[in-house]
């Protein structure tokens, strides 16, 4: 109990929790994007990928619950850290000028988080828990969604926000966990950015393909 209180009750401990949950969520996102590349190989392979996933069923349910818990913890602590940080500087500067440390990703962390939150709510409602009309395959469902220009646009905004979140997060989490070495720091920072951009590009490619290519998921 005392250990839990030490973590949840202190700024540094909360950051460790953010890092651990963020890392796990990022791991999920990486696996998710890899799985989704089955879309490139057409409807059949995507449907069979989805079917194989569901064969893991009892395990999948456990996994979903764990993921949800991690997510709830990440969001709650993220919001509480954000509020406390606002509180710590009651009067803002008349002129604010970065000295060169911040990045677009780090500045927008909370806001990209909110976009991801909204997107995941929509995603769960429209894909994961949707009552699919009888005989509609998952591929048909995704195609129908992404062929709408509005859905495609929102999707692109959301996954870009996710990439931005990861561009800072994938480096930041190591620092929060205490890992830092001058020999690897630049590599780690560039690697985080590269991985975030790659994940973003793969996710963004789906709505683009759906919009411009008739053979998408057929």
């Amino acid at each position: 109990m005392r250990i839990v209180r030490r973590f949840c009750g202190s700024s540094v401990g909360k950051k460790v929790i953010m890092a651990v949950t963020g890392m796990s969520l990022a791991g999920f996102v990486l696996v998710h994007v890899l799985g989704n590349t089955a879309i490139y190989f057409g409807a059949e392979s995507f449907n069979s990928y989805a079917a194989h996933l569901h064969e893991l069923d009892p395990l999948l349910k456990v996994f979903e619950v764990v993921l949800l818990l991690l997510f709830v913890v990440h969001v709650s602590f993220g919001v509480s850290l954000f509020i406390r940080n606002r509180f710590a500087r009651p009067q803002r500067y008349a002129v604010s000028q970065s000295s060169g440390g911040r990045t677009l990703g780090s500045v927008t962390m909370f806001y990209t988080g909110l976009i991801i939150l909204a997107f995941i709510a929509y995603h769960l409602w429209s894909v994961s828990f949707s009552s699919r009309p009888f005989m509609t395959s998952i591929a048909d469902l995704i195609r129908a969604h992404l062929q709408s220009p509005y859905v495609a646009g929102l999707y692109m905004v959301s996954v870009s926000a996710m990439a931005l979140h990861l561009s800072h997060g994938l480096w930041s989490l190591w620092q929060s966990l205490g890992g830092s070495h001058p020999a690897y720091d630049t590599l780690l920072r560039r690697g985080a950015l590269a991985l975030a951009v790659l994940v973003g590009c793969v996710f963004v490619s789906f709505p683009i393909l759906a919009q411009v290519w008739d053979g998408f998921l057929r």
Binding site: S10, S11, V12, L81, A88, R89, A94, V95, H168, Q175
Partner: protein, 254 residues
């Protein structure tokens, strides 16, 4: 000696009588400032003129004016200690500015640094953090034999780098979250790296972080603004070390 170069400036300085009064930026024009002057000498000239004209001089902190005591500091155009890297305000020279420049000068802003007057803030929150763990206990008795406590060269260097912190508070001023992590991590590092700091190592990490939180500083979000603003060039590697020290202590202490 060649004739001195002088510049004319427009200053917008935060004026506030005390923490309860309303503050505002006041505009002053200041002409014929020698570029050989330091920033604080420039403020001295302004204050001379203000006093002669019957106004209240601008209050600002300073002591050594050599960049070693950590008393000076203000935010110039959004940057603590001004635009030069690894330079305190007292060591910032006016040659880095051009004639006609507008300089907005504000106090360090954080809930934990209460404003005293104009550019002066109360940084005693740092003292409270130091009292919570920034010390080592040494038993009295005969002096240690020389070289009986070996310290690796790497650790000695890193401890010295961390100990370069002068406690000015620029890291807090620069941090978007008004976090004091660079300061605290410097103090924790200088002890964690040396054998003399090891007896209280675990308690120190927990206690200093606790004091830091209680004083109302924000949380680190790894923005790295502190390390680029630090006049002594402390690296955020110290913050990673602080996080490690905290983790080890939080898990291992009963």
């Amino acid at each position: 000696m060649s004739s001195a170069i002088t510049i004319d400036l427009i200053l917008k300085i935060w004026r506030q009588q005390n923490i309860h009064a309303r503050g505002a930026l006041q505009t002053y024009t200041l002409n014929d400032i020698s570029t050989d002057m330091s920033f604080l000498e420039m403020l001295d000239v302004l204050n001379d003129q203000l006093v002669l004209a019957g106004y209240d001089p601008v209050a600002f902190d300073h002591d050594c004016r050599e960049g070693i005591c950590g008393m000076c500091g203000a935010v110039v155009n959004g940057q603590p200690h001004g635009p030069e890297t690894e330079t305190t305000l007292c060591q910032l020279h006016m040659r880095h500015f051009k004639t006609g420049d507008t300089l907005v000068i504000e106090p360090f802003r954080a809930r934990a640094f209460k404003l005293v007057k104009d550019l002066v803030v109360d940084r005693s929150a740092f003292d409270t953090i130091i009292q919570a763990g920034g010390y080592v206990s040494v038993n009295t008795g005969g002096a240690q034999d020389a070289n009986s406590l070996p310290v690796s060269q790497k650790n000695a260097e890193e401890a010295m780098d961390a100990a370069a912190c002068i406690g000015c508070g620029a890291c807090v001023a620069a941090c978007p979250n008004a976090a004091a992590m660079l300061f605290v991590s410097g103090k924790i590092s200088q002890f964690a790296l040396l054998p003399q700091g090891h007896p209280e190592r675990r308690e120190r990490a927990l206690n200093m972080v606790k004091a830091m939180d209680e004083e109302g500083f924000g949380n680190c979000t790894n923005e790295r603004e502190c390390e680029v603003s630090c006049p002594k060039g402390l690296s955020i590697r110290n913050i990673a070390r602080l996080n490690r020290e905290f983790l080890k202590a939080a898990i291992s202490l009963p």
